[in-house]
């Protein structure tokens, strides 16, 4: 039986400040609310949403850098949450993350060679000269020079630093790379290069990745499926083609309307988003999107819409359907 590479079930995360003897616990912040999806070998899955919708929380949960409040994560059929720290450390080799901020994500006092080679050392794979040889090769593959090994991260630009981050993740030959907005901090001219690089590397290294972005246009070209998130919930999940051809959720339509010069929508209806993303400490009742939705009905305020399959694995969470 083939199981999904990654399966996320009922994943929920509340952030709360724990109370102490003298201060009561503070309000819970809803970061992720009952998120479910599967990801299969060979596909590139994108997760798109405005800031504060829980994208980064999801990335950190999948790589188990934080613990969920509820729910399960199955990676290659293994329940990650139930693993003890030792087992988890071993599996991390197959499960890597690339952070958004290329400046904050590299240790300031280590040379690039040590940074990139550290994974090999941690997992006891290679040491010394053999390690350095591999580091050199990976650096070459991400477009850096062997001579860069002896330089410090501060000497590199944002784009180059993101290349170092990619090299550090790939040297372990992971099966899944979670890229948390890897290009959003970069100049437009560099963005394309990094995305192209990740595409090329995907062919060579045969890894799969989850690409997190706040920008639909970035993900359109290379992702197989797209998840649209709003305030901690998945509102729509479809193949990229379906999503752009026939977006269903009003929020998705608004996001696509916001993309300039989209032929497909030029003559169709335009959806302009009004208002702001509500405070996650006090999310709206029912459908989280209802205060900003022009089609809002009574039921939207009362009941939470769950994901419904509209055919061809096009899932949408909206009471209109």
């Amino acid at each position: 039986m083939t199981y999904p590479l990654l399966s996320v079930k009922n994943l929920t995360k509340y952030y709360k400040k724990e109370g102490s003897l003298f201060s009561p616990p503070e309000d819970e912040v809803l970061a992720l609310d009952d998120v479910n999806f599967d990801m299969y070998e060979g596909e590139t899955l994108s997760i798109v949403g405005e800031s504060g919708c829980g994208k980064t929380t999801l990335a950190k949960l999948i790589t188990r850098l934080i613990e969920p409040t509820r729910g399960f994560i199955f990676f290659q059929g293994k329940d990650l949450i139930s693993l003890n720290p030792g087992e988890m450390r071993k599996i991390r080799r197959k499960l890597q993350i690339i952070f958004q901020d290329p400046y904050a994500s590299l240790p300031p006092r280590m040379k690039v060679g040590e940074i990139v080679g550290e994974g090999l050392e941690i997992h006891g794979l290679f040491k010394g000269g053999k390690k350095m040889e591999l580091v050199k090769r990976v650096l070459g593959e991400v477009g850096l020079n062997a001579g860069d090994m002896n330089r410090y991260p501060q000497e590199f630009s944002g784009g180059q630093r993101q290349r170092i981050n990619i090299a550090r993740a790939l040297i372990l030959h992971p099966r899944l790379v979670v890229a948390d907005e890897p290009v959003s901090a970069l100049d437009v001219s560099v963005k394309g290069q990094i995305i192209k690089l990740m595409q090329d590397l995907k062919e060579n290294y045969r890894f799969n990745y989850i690409f997190i972005s706040h920008d639909l246009t970035t993900v359109e070209e290379f992702s197989h499926r797209v998840i649209i998130m709003y305030l901690g919930r998945i509102v729509e999940l479809a193949s990229t083609r379906k999503l752009f051809e026939k977006p269903m959720h009003i929020y998705t339509r608004a996001l696509i309307s916001a993309v300039p010069h989209r032929k497909a929508l030029r003559n169709k209806e335009k959806f302009i988003l009004e208002g702001e993303v509500p405070d996650p400490r006090n999310p709206p009742s029912g459908c989280h999107f209802h205060p900003r939705c022009s089609f809002s009905q009574d039921i939207c305020q009362k009941e939470r819409p769950f994901l419904k399959d509209m055919g061809n694995n096009h899932l949408v969470a909206c009471h209109l359907y």
Binding site: K90, A104, P107, R109, L172
Partner: protein, 271 residues
């Protein structure tokens, strides 16, 4: 390197370093620097004012104060350094554990530091000394183990903020063990404030020893320490100003030099 240039420019840093080096050499070569046996009493020469034979004068038993002050530096400096080392080691270890693991570990360690901090240090030390009697080793241990909470709080705060930084999370995502993360990634980046704290712990320990000796709870009598001499001088301030002035000046200069060194190090490492 740029740091080297900034060090050269920082006059206070150089000045305090010169003084500390001088004090060190004095303690190291003490036997070669004195003309009198610091323990030898010449009662007929008691309370002689400073002169060519006794540079700092003599004490109530006719001992040469200069020799006693020079030998006293050995005790004061070694107590200062060893106690500071204990403070830094204990404080860093416990602060790192509290800051990195948080939760119940943090709570236990921080409540322990709170307990030690709420006691006035001197009373705590006095209580401990009355329990364990005052030898060199005991004094060092007691000063060291009452001084670490300040360091622990500092290190904890540093660890708490570094733990959440992306580059530490990235190492965790690579599969590094806690030990590796703490020692290879967080500690090296927390070193600056620890170095400053170490420098400032030395004068604190020296002052604690001087205070204890002045109260008669420090190193027992014939051995000269700066605090001991001050204690003996008590009662002779009017007749013999030199009796208290010289050991007092050495304590002052030493503590000031270490404090200046700590402050200038902070400036150097911050910028």
């Amino acid at each position: 390197m740029i740091l080297g240039k900034r060090v050269q420019k920082n006059k206070i840093f150089i000045f305090s370093l010169v003084i500390i080096t001088g004090l060190f050499l004095m303690a190291l070569f003490a036997p070669h620097l004195v003309s009198h046996d610091p323990l030898k009493t010449e009662t007929e020469n008691w309370l002689t004012p400073p002169g060519p034979d006794n540079w700092f004068g003599t004490d109530r038993l006719g001992r040469d104060i200069y020799s006693r002050v020079v030998f006293g530096s050995r005790i004061s400096l070694s107590i200062g350094f060893i106690s500071a080392a204990i403070m830094i080691f204990t404080g860093t270890l416990l602060g790192a554990l509290a800051g990195y693991y948080g939760g119940i570990v943090d709570n236990l360690i921080m409540r322990l530091t709170d307990i030690i901090i709420v006691f006035p240090v001197l009373f705590l030390i006095i209580t401990l000394i009355s329990l364990f009697d005052s030898g060199f080793i005991h004094i060092i241990l007691i000063i060291g183990f009452t001084g670490w909470p300040v360091v622990a709080r500092l290190v904890r705060a540093e660890f708490m903020s570094l733990r959440e930084r992306d580059f530490v999370q990235a190492i965790r995502a690579l599969g590094a063990s806690d030990l590796r993360i703490i020692t290879r990634h967080i500690l090296p980046n927390a070193l600056d404030p620890i170095v400053v704290a170490a420098t400032l712990s030395v004068p604190a320990a020296i002052l604690a020893e001087a205070g204890l000796s002045f109260l008669g709870l420090g190193i027992p009598a014939p051995v000269p320490t700066w605090g001991n001499i001050l204690r003996e001088a008590h009662g002779y301030f009017r007749q013999a100003w030199w009796y208290a002035a010289f050991p007092g000046a050495f304590i002052f200069v030493t503590v000031m030099a270490f404090n200046l060194l700590g402050e200038s190090l902070k400036d150097l490492l911050d910028s």
